[in-house]
Amino acid sequence: MKRRSLIKAFTLSASIAAMGLSWSIQAAETIKVGILHSLSGTMAISETSLKDMALMTIEQINAKGGVNGKMLEAVVVDPASNWPLFAEKSRQLLTQDKVAVVFGCWTSVSRKSVLPVFEELNGLLFYPVQYEGEEMSPNVFYTGAAPNQQAIPAVEYLMSEEGGAAKRYFLLGTDYVYPRTTNKILRAFLHSKGVADKDIEEVYTPFGHSDYQTIVANIKKFSAGGKTAVISTVNGDSNVPFYKELANQGLKATDVPVVAFSVGEEELRGIDAKPLVGHLAAWNYFESVENPVNTQFVSDWKAYAKAKNLPGADKAVTNDPMEATYVGIHMWAQAVEKAKSTDVDKVREALAGQSFKAPSGFTLTMDKTNHHLHKPVMIGEIQDDGQFNVVWETESPVRAQPWSPFIPGNDKRPDYAVKGN
């Protein structure tokens, strides 16, 4: 305990010192933009690239003359996968640095931790990751998927003949709000499709869990009872030992496919993908989709990674949350141009109905009322090069249902953003 508070004190004081040194010189001609992603700790595997993507997008916007004639200036902070630190850092961004907007967070627990700060100070947060829904704050724009834009179509695919016609479902997740809520929704959805409770198993592990022997043995045992699919909401670097254990115990995708909601190209960089061929992921974008916007996006990113000499730049990949970050920043910039101001209330109004031609190959629109993007859904199979082969996708973008109809009481929720929800 002592150790943890010491760590916190140390990082805090160090970053305050750093802030004081570097950011006070700039004059007022720029628009400050906060970037709040973990650059260390268990979530660094996923979040670091979002920070770099945000910086690249800002650089591109500046190269085209900035927004309303002003340059954007990024303020990067590291909340170190430490949820309370997210709240402290966001307060610092909003009150000391006076940023116009913040792009950040990955885990839902970090978003829940900063939410009261943004509502209290009337800040603006763009959240780029798929999540469990059950939230619609006027101070947040959600550019990732809601459950009906990711989790539910994925399970429908598993049920179909093409997806293997699974009869039993093993829900495996990291123990926090996103997996628990998603699994609650999925359980209700599976019930509605006639899957009985005895055919659903729910298991949770702590953050950073690294010993998946028992769990993989249980999956094997469970799968003997009929065609089984694993729905994984395991987050962060725990995915590596989980997939390694799966491969070592000889559980192949043809026997038991694993569909993951938090594993993308970036996470697969840390794994030898050959034993994982055929396992699935559901997202709204894959690097492998073929269209001119994406070709440009991917080559821009690779060039940027090389130019900035990012670690592992020769193998740089793009993924869904990076695309969502990119789309989010562009939409915000468009809205600021439209509102001719960075004032949060004016920008919020201008964002409704804003649209952007995204690398996914679709023109994405910000919904007029619910603060979520209309997104296409894609299901990809892992290939041996760590890329995904899209095996199923929707024909057009789907409107988000942040209040899932599969959770009782949600039918009474308003379809517009209200504080404290």
């Binding site: 298991v203 702590p206 028992t214 769990i215 045992k221 070592n248 055929g278």
Partner: protein, 516 residues
């Protein structure tokens, strides 16, 4: 080719009567097939829609043709032939059907081991359409092991036979396996609505009890193995600390970072081998062992000489200083390699596992790590108890002043002992890199466990650490299936706290007058 003609009409109707258009297309394909050369199969397959491809694979599985074996083997590798550059895109369903079709074809092979593997695959995946073919192969199979395996594959399908006598024989045969799938199949037969014959139902009950017994044995062995495996990992993580903290009394918060350095050394060795000696890539972990030991021991000795030796006898300052060092090391690694995890791939001989029972696979990496942990313990024990350095270390630990009086160079011994502890941590890092993540924070996740093991085992005792590590590992794995990973971890921690309250000296206490 002549295999095809007589059976042609039987293929389609039972499978595809729902979709006449597709059936027609399929029949057209099949009729054309005998005329075309074998390369034609590949062209037909690639031109077909996914649904037709599935039907094609099913038809191939039911009517294997030896000439198609090469194509199917190539398809499993993601190609259409040895010199065909077209890209083959398969999904899971097709991949499963392909495995099944390939197994069907491999049954025609002359190689008995290949036939055995094929028969095992068919136990999992055989379809009703394959009964006739399997029956023929079963009758003509010369090899006893393959014969038995085929019998089981056939029995799975015969459970749905219309003749009760065939069903009864199949049920009896399934009772002799420990196959987890057999359990579900037999369970469905207990229902009078599914199985009308009372004799078969009773036989199913007996067989089910047999299968369940065999499965239980596999499960218990599996739990014991995962306990041992977790224990060996804890042991490797804690063994270095048992020396630096246990023997030298340094509260070494940077111990986890020694593990991390070992893991990163493994990564560097892997990259170097890949670049300069790709042929030896299979054995890079063996090369990494001395390198990791040297790097960690070197860093350890450097630390001891520059920082820690000034702080002997001041535990609080040591704690803070070593913790500071751990932060410096983490940040240094982050600056050099980036905050992201690096990829350490398992070589071929550490991937996959040993199938002991139908429901028990022991991964090679874990078997090797258990053996490795025991070797390291043995070597450390020998070093401490059978060499001059070990004697000196023990003397200095027990009474520094007296040892100095007797001419033991205490400063050098301290340095070497600290280096040894760090080096062993480096070896642990090599092992950890094979099963988990390699990132700058790797050490942080093991430091608590390491201290737990050393404190629980009794400070200053190697044997204590050994028992504590395996005890914790097994207790953890026994609790996990009952109450889940999260609660299990909490409960273990609570139990240890209670235990330490009751017995502060740990499992094994040093006997005699120990100077603190």
């Amino acid at each position: 080719m002549n295999l095809w003609e007589p059976a042609l009409p039987a293929i389609g109707p039972n499978e595809h009567h729902k979709d006449p258009a597709m059936l027609k297309a399929l029949l057209a394909l099949l009729l054309l097939l005998p005329l075309a050369a074998q390369a034609g199969d590949a062209d037909f397959f690639i031109a077909a829609k996914p649904n037709e491809q599935a039907s094609l694979l099913q038809a191939w599985a039911a009517q294997p043709d030896p000439a198609r074996l090469a194509l199917l083997s190539a398809m499993q590798q993601g190609r259409l032939g040895a010199d065909d550059t077209r890209k083959l895109r398969l999904n899971n369903r097709l991949r499963g059907l392909l495995d099944n079709a390939l197994a069907s074809h491999q049954l025609l092979s002359d190689d008995a081991t290949l036939r055995l593997a094929a028969a095992r695959q068919l136990q999992k995946s055989a379809q009703p359409a394959q009964v006739a073919f399997l029956d023929r192969r079963f009758a003509g199979e010369p090899d006893a092991a393959v014969h038995a395996a085929l019998g089981l594959a056939l029995a799975n399908l015969q459970l749905a036979d219309s003749n009760p006598a065939v069903r009864l024989a199949a049920v009896r045969l399934l009772g002799e396996t420990g196959d987890p799938m057999a359990r579900t199949r037999l369970e469905t037969l207990l229902d009078p609505a599914v199985e009308t014959d009372a004799g078969v139902r009773t036989a199913a009950e007996t067989s089910l009890a047999q299968v369940k017994r065999k499965l239980l044995i596999g499960e218990l062995l599996g739990q014991a193995f995962s306990g041992l495996s977790l224990g060996s990992i804890l042991l490797l993580a804690a063994l270095g600390l048992a020396i630096t903290f246990g023997l030298l009394g340094v509260i070494n918060m940077a111990h986890g970072e020694m593990l991390m350095l070992g893991a990163y050394t493994t990564y560097v060795v892997q990259v170097l081998v890949q670049r300069y000696a790709p042929g030896a890539l299979e054995f890079y972990p063996l090369l990494a062992l001395p390198a990791a030991f040297a790097v960690s021991a070197g860093v350890g000795m450097l630390l001891e000489r520059t920082v820690i030796r000034h702080l002997y006898g001041r535990p609080l300052e040591t704690l803070l200083a070593t913790w500071g060092i751990s932060l410096i090391l983490i940040q240094a690694i982050r600056l050099i390699f980036g905050a992201q995890n690096v990829e350490v791939a398992n070589p071929g001989w550490l991937s996959g596992g040993l199938q002991v029972l139908p429901n028990l696979v022991l991964p090679y990496s874990r078997i090797v790590i258990i053996g490795f942990a025991l070797c390291v313990v043995l070597l450390t024990w020998l070093l401490l108890n059978r060499t001059r350095l070990g004697l000196n270390v023990r003397a200095v630990t027990q009474n520094r002043n007296m040892a100095a009086c007797c001419g033991v160079p205490t400063g050098r011994v301290d340095m070497l002992a600290f280096g040894l502890g760090s080096g062993i941590a480096g070896l642990g890092g090599v092992a950890l890199s094979q099963i988990g993540n390699v990132g700058p924070d790797l050490g942080q996740s093991y430091i608590i466990d390491s201290f737990l093991v050393v404190v629980l085992g009794g400070v200053g005792q190697l044997a204590g650490s050994l028992w504590a590590a395996f005890g914790l590992g097994i207790a953890n794995k026994l609790l996990e299936p009952q109450i889940g990973a999260v609660l299990g971890k909490i409960l273990i921690l609570a139990l240890i706290i209670l235990f330490i309250q009751k017995r502060p000296q740990g499992l094994f206490a040093l006997k005699g007058r120990v100077i603190d």
